[in-house]
C-alpha cells in the first residue's frame, strides 16, 4: 500500500532448527496506513505476538521484509533500530509494561530521554501524553499504585509520546477487566483517529470490533479481513462484540 506506515512483505519466521523447528509466521504480508487501527486475531500460538515483535524491530524475520515508515528494518543496525523504537514505533505489552521503579511520568519520558531529550522537555511531553490518556493527575504515582487499566494507559502514553507513527499493542487488554479494557481500546481508537497507525493483537472479538480492519492468523498464515467491525463476529462465533 502506498503511504503505508507498516509493511510486511512475505514475512516468515522460523524458531529452532532441524526437527525441532517451528514456523511461527509463514509468508505473512500486511500493510497498515496512518490513521488505521488493524486488529490481529487468532488462536494461541498462531503467530500474533511474533508478527508484532517483527513489526517493532524487536526480532528479525527468517525471510521477507518489514518496512516501517518506508525504512527496511533489515537494513538498519542496532543503533538505528533503537532510534526507531525511540521515535517511530511504540510498543504496548500485555504485562510487564512499566518500569516499576519509575513514576508514571518518568516511564513515559524514558523513550524521550533515551533519545537525548532534556529532562524538562521530556517531563512536559510526558505530562501532556498522560493527559492525553486521561491520567493527568497520576503522573507522580509509581506503577504499583496504579490500577491495571491505568498502567496500560500509561504504557500507551509512553508508546505515543514524541513523533510516533506506529503503535503496536500486544494484547493490551489481556489482564484487564471489561471496563478497563474498553477504556484502553477507546484510547487506542483515539490515537488511530489522531493519525497513528495502530496494530492491536487480541483474541477477543469485542475488542477487535474497534478496529478498521481485522487480520486473522491461523498457523502462521494471514487472512486479511478488510471491512467493517462486524468481521470478528464471523471469525469467532459466539464472541460478544461491543464496539
Amino acid at each position: 500500500m502506498s503511504g503505508a506506515v507498516l509493511e510486511l512483505d512475505a514475512v516468515r519466521r522460523v524458531f529452532g532448527t532441524g526437527r525441532g523447528a517451528t514456523t511461527a509466521l509463514d509468508g505473512v504480508s500486511l500493510s497498515v496506513a496512518a490513521g488505521e487501527l488493524v486488529a490481529v486475531m487468532g488462536p494461541s500460538g498462531s503467530g500474533k505476538s511474533t508478527l508484532l515483535t517483527l513489526a517493532g524491530g524487536l526480532d528479525e524475520p527468517t525471510s521477507g521484509r518489514v518496512r516501517v515508515g518506508g525504512a527496511d528494518l533489515a537494513a538498519l543496525d542496532a543503533e538505528a533500530l533503537a532510534g526507531l523504537r525511540c521515535r517511530t514505533v511504540g510498543y504496548v505489552f500485555q504485562d510487564f509494561n512499566l518500569l516499576p521503579t519509575l513514576t508514571a511520568a518518568e516511564n513515559v519520558a524514558v523513550p524521550l530521554e533515551l533519545d537525548g531529550v532534556g529532562a524538562r522537555a521530556g517531563r512536559r511531553q510526558a505530562h501532556e501524553a498522560l493527559a492525553g490518556v486521561g491520567l493527568a493527575g497520576l503522573a507522580d504515582r509509581f506503577p504499583d499504585a496504579l490500577s491495571g487499566g491505568e498502567q496500560q494507559r500509561t504504557a500507551i502514553a509512553r508508546a505515543c509520546v514524541g513523533p510516533r507513527r506506529l503503535l503496536l499493542a500486544d494484547e493490551p487488554t489481556g489482564a484487564l477487566d471489561s471496563l478497563a479494557g474498553e477504556q484502553v481500546l477507546a484510547v487506542l481508537r483515539d490515537k488511530a483517529d489522531a493519525g497513528l497507525a495502530v496494530v492491536l493483537v487480541t483474541h477477543e472479538a469485542r475488542y477487535a470490533a474497534w478496529a478498521d480492519r481485522v487480520v486473522f492468523l491461523r498457523d502462521g498464515r494471514a487472512q486479511d479481513q478488510a471491512g467493517p467491525p462486524a468481521g470478528p463476529e464471523t471469525l469467532l462465533a459466539g464472541s460478544d462484540v461491543t464496539p
Partner: protein, 503 residues
Amino acid sequence: MSAAASGLAGRWVRWRVALRLAARDARRHRGRTGLVVTLIAIPVALLAGGATLWATQDVSPAEETVQRFGAADFEVRARDGDVALDWVPGELPDGAQATPLDRGELLLAGELGLVGAESIGVDLGASVHQGRLDLVAGSAPEGEDEVALTPALAHDLDVDLGDVIADPDGEPVGEVVGLAEWPSALPRRTVFAAPDALPETTRAGWVVTAGEADHEAVAAALDPTAGGEAPRGDQPGADTPEAGAPDTGEAAAGDGGAAWRVTARADVVPVTGGGGLAAAFTVVAALALAEAALVAAAAFAVGVRRQLRDLGLLAAVGGRPGDLRRVVLAGGLAAGSVGALLGAAGGIAVVALLEPWLESWLGQRLPDGLTVPVGLVALAAVGGVVAALAAAAAPARTAARLTITEALAARLPPGAPPRRTATAGCALAVLGALLGGGAAWLARPAGGTLDQDPALVVIAVGAVLVVQAAVAVGLYNTLLAPAWQVMVRAICERFPLRTAGLE
C-alpha cells in the same frame, strides 16, 4: 538520531536515565545493594583508615627535630660517664649559651615495689628545652629537695604533685612539684631535678644555642676532631653511644675515638621508614578490594538476571545496547560511590575515635593530631569505585548483548565467553608474573632497608594482577562459563519456541 541525542548532552541525559534506574533499583533491592556497598566499603575503610593512621602517627621532620633538640642548635654528649665536659661553656663564642644536662640513675620505692628511673638534672624552665622536655603540670624543680617526674613514673610510683618520693631506704629524694614529659618518648621514667641537685647525677652533656654567635664558630668550638687544646680530645673515651640516646641515625661528628660527640640540629636527618609495612598493607587492602570486586560481580550478575524484563522493556522502548550496559554500570557506580564514601568516612572515623589513645599506644606526642591524607583517602575511594565498576563490567556486557525478546522472556543468552576476556586475562597473568619476578630480582641485592620499598610496590602490583587474572580467567573461563553453556543449551533445545519468541 535526533539532534538532541547526539553529543555530550545526549550522553549525559542517557547516563541520567541509567543512574536513576540504578539508584531506584538499588533502593528496591536493599539486601543486594547492602552486600555490594559493604564489600566495597570494607577494603576502602582499611585503606583510608590505614592511610589516616599512618599520616596521624607520622611526626613531621620539623617536629621530630624539635622533639630531639627543643630550641637548641647543638647537643654535646659525653661518650662515658667519667668524661667531664665542664669546658664547654667556656669555649663557646660570645652570644652562644650552654645549658647543662646531668644524668644518672635512681632506684625509688613505690607502692608496688622498687622502680628504676633515670635522673636528669636540668632547668625545666629553660626555654631551650621547650618541645623536647615539656612541663605539663606544676612547676619546674628549683631547690635541692624538689623534683619533677614524668607522668609514666608518677603513675608507676602512684604519686601526685605534693607527694614525696623516696629511695629504697626510705630516704626522701624530693617533693614532686611538677610533671614533665619527653614528647618523643612518653613511657620514659625520669626524675627531673635542678642541675647539681641530685648527687647521683653526672654531667652527661650540654645543649647549646648559638644565639647571636656565628653558627660555624660554635660548631668549630665544639668540634671533637679539632684537638690540640688541653681540655678537649684527650679524655679517655669509650666508643659507645650513651644509653638512652635516641637513635636518630644522625651524622655525628666524625670523631673517631673522641670522648664526646656533637650533633648539630641542621645535620639531623629525620628517620623515615616503614615503607615495607606500607607496601604490605597496600597489598592486603588491594587484594581485599580485588576479591570484593569478584564477589560483587556475582551480586551484579544476579541483579542483571533479576532485571532482565526491565532491561528488555528498556530496549523495547528505545534503549540501545549501550543504554543497557549503562544501567548496570550505573548500578556499580552508585553502589561503589556509596561504598567508597562510607568506607572512607568509616576508616577516618575509626582513627578519629582511636586518636585519644594513639599517643599512649605509640608512646609519642602527635603534635598535628588527626591528620587525614586527603589525596590517599581519595585514591582509596576512587579505587573502591573502580572496583565496583569492574565488578559490574561483565554483567553490563551481558546486558548489552541481550536480545529484546529473550530479555522480555527473562532469559539470558547462551553466549560463549568472549575470546578477548581470556586473552586479556592471560596477558595480565604474564604481566603479573613478569612484574613479580622483576621485583624479586630488584629486591635481591637490597640490604633489607629502604631499597626494598620500590620493589615491594612492584611485587604488590604484580601479585594483584596475577591473582586477579588467575581467579577471573581460571574460574570463569574454565569452570563457570562451560557449565553455564551446557545448562543453557540443554534448556534451549528443549524449548526452542520459548527461547526465541514471546509466544
